[in-house]
């Protein structure tokens, strides 16, 4: 088994490879101060240990086998911490690829004058390290996407508060662009609040919505219809001049929907409809 050489080399000169690797990493590290030398040292030592164990298994070039599970998990963990520490993707990938130099040097020492064997070993090692490097980048990207998704979810929750204006009147100030996902959340929130508070009138304030296109208008109409089905009325407020013009130009039919230019007018109308009068 040719792979035996690789694990032998790793076993024999693991310490040396580790020392060289750690030194290379430390000197190349652009993100100094983001990760401590001891932490880096721990990670490299752990990786070499895991690699030694894994390369003893038969199928050392295919990293999807169960033997490589610990090493994959370890790399995923490293990627995740790299994301949290603010490393870029190439810096993260360099963690693995910088192992090549010391590792190849060790293989060369081991093979001596046998050029064929050396070429063979180097090829195997490259294949393995490339696969591991790609896996690292992949998990790095995945972690980044998780962060983005989480932020998106948080923004969704942040951006749709339902406020109670008066007994039986609730308002939903909408800020930012409306897309399908967001409208869905907004609609669910609003309807849920209507049930909880028993509100008769809901005011949708679109002052903070930069543009209204046919899609957004359709979403608004859906919300209004859903509210009507539940037995509540809906007033749309905060329609700016440009938006009013756009809606007319687009030919969107807002018939049957009460719209007001600002929240104050909408509130006044809502109070009137609920039979409340205010004195100054």
């Amino acid at each position: 088994m040719a792979d035996a050489t690789m694990s032998n080399v790793l076993k024999k000169s693991g310490k040396e490879i580790h020392a060289n690797w750690a030194r290379d990493l430390a000197s190349n590290q652009t993100g100094k101060g983001r990760i401590s030398a001891t932490e880096l040292d721990q990670q490299t030592a752990e990786f070499i240990k895991l690699l030694t164990v894994a390369s003893e298994s038969a199928s050392a070039s295919d990293i999807s086998t169960p033997e490589f599970k610990p090493i994959r998990d370890f790399l995923e963990g490293v990627s995740r911490s790299r994301v949290a520490q603010g490393f870029s993707s190439d810096e993260t990938a360099m963690f693995i690829f910088s192992l090549k130099k010391p590792f190849f040097a060790a293989l060369r020492t081991d093979a001596g004058k046998d050029a064929d064997a050396l070429a063979d070993q180097v090829w195997r090692a490259t294949e393995l390290l490339d696969a591991l490097g790609l896996h690292t980048v992949k998990s790095y990207q995945k972690s980044r996407e998780e962060v983005i998704n989480r932020q998106q979810r948080e923004m969704l929750e942040l951006s749709s508060p339902v406020v109670k204006l008066w007994e039986g009147i609730i308002a939903l100030p909408m800020i930012g662009t409306l897309d399908s996902a967001r409208t869905q959340v907004v609609m669910e929130n609003l309807l849920q609040k209507v049930v909880e508070t028993g509100a008769q009138i809901a005011i949708l304030d679109i002052t903070g919505v930069p543009t209204v296109d046919t899609l957004v208008a359709q979403h608004l109409l859906k919300t209004v219809t859903a509210l009507r089905l539940m037995g509540a009325e809906c007033i749309i407020s905060g329609v700016r001049p440009q938006i009013a013009q756009t809606i007319v130009h687009l030919g969107v039919d807002l018939q049957g929907v009460t719209t007001k230019a600002n929240l104050a007018d909408a509130l006044a109308l809502a109070l009137k409809r609920t039979g409340t009068s205010l004195k100054q």
Binding site: V194, M230, G231
Partner: protein, 119 residues
């Protein structure tokens, strides 16, 4: 309930049952000389297009038979589903709960049966 009829749909309706309900309700309206019908669907959690249309039909039938019909207590999820299905139930009066529905019904009948639906 006197001149009012309260229909509560408590379990998820299957199609056959919906048809039977429609039949029973129209007979009951004639028999009891009902002037107002409240259809309470607050426990209905799932609707498909058929049930959605059935609910709309029942409301329309009530209206044709001379009784004001109000749909009360629709759940948010149901409302969203109906809207997504394109069933906006035009012309059907709605109210948040039975109490509100009763007030609305009373107001409508007091207006001497004329349709005062402003929606």
């Amino acid at each position: 309930m006197g001149e009012f009829l309260l229909v509560t749909i408590q379990i998820d309706m299957h199609d056959q049952m919906a048809l039977k309900l429609q039949d029973d309700l129209s007979n009951a309206i004639i028999k009891n000389a009902t002037r107002g019908v409240l259809i309470d669907i607050s426990t209905l959690e799932m609707v498909d297009s058929f049930i959605g249309r059935m609910v709309a039909d029942i409301s329309s039938i009530g209206k044709i038979l001379g009784a004001e019909t109000i749909l009360v207590g629709m759940q948010p999820a149901v409302a969203i589903t109906l809207v997504e299905l394109g069933l906006s139930l035009p012309g059907v009066a709605t109210a948040l709960n039975v109490e509100r529905g009763m007030v609305l019904l009373r107001r409508k009948i007091d207006a001497d049966g004329t349709d005062v639906s402003e929606r």
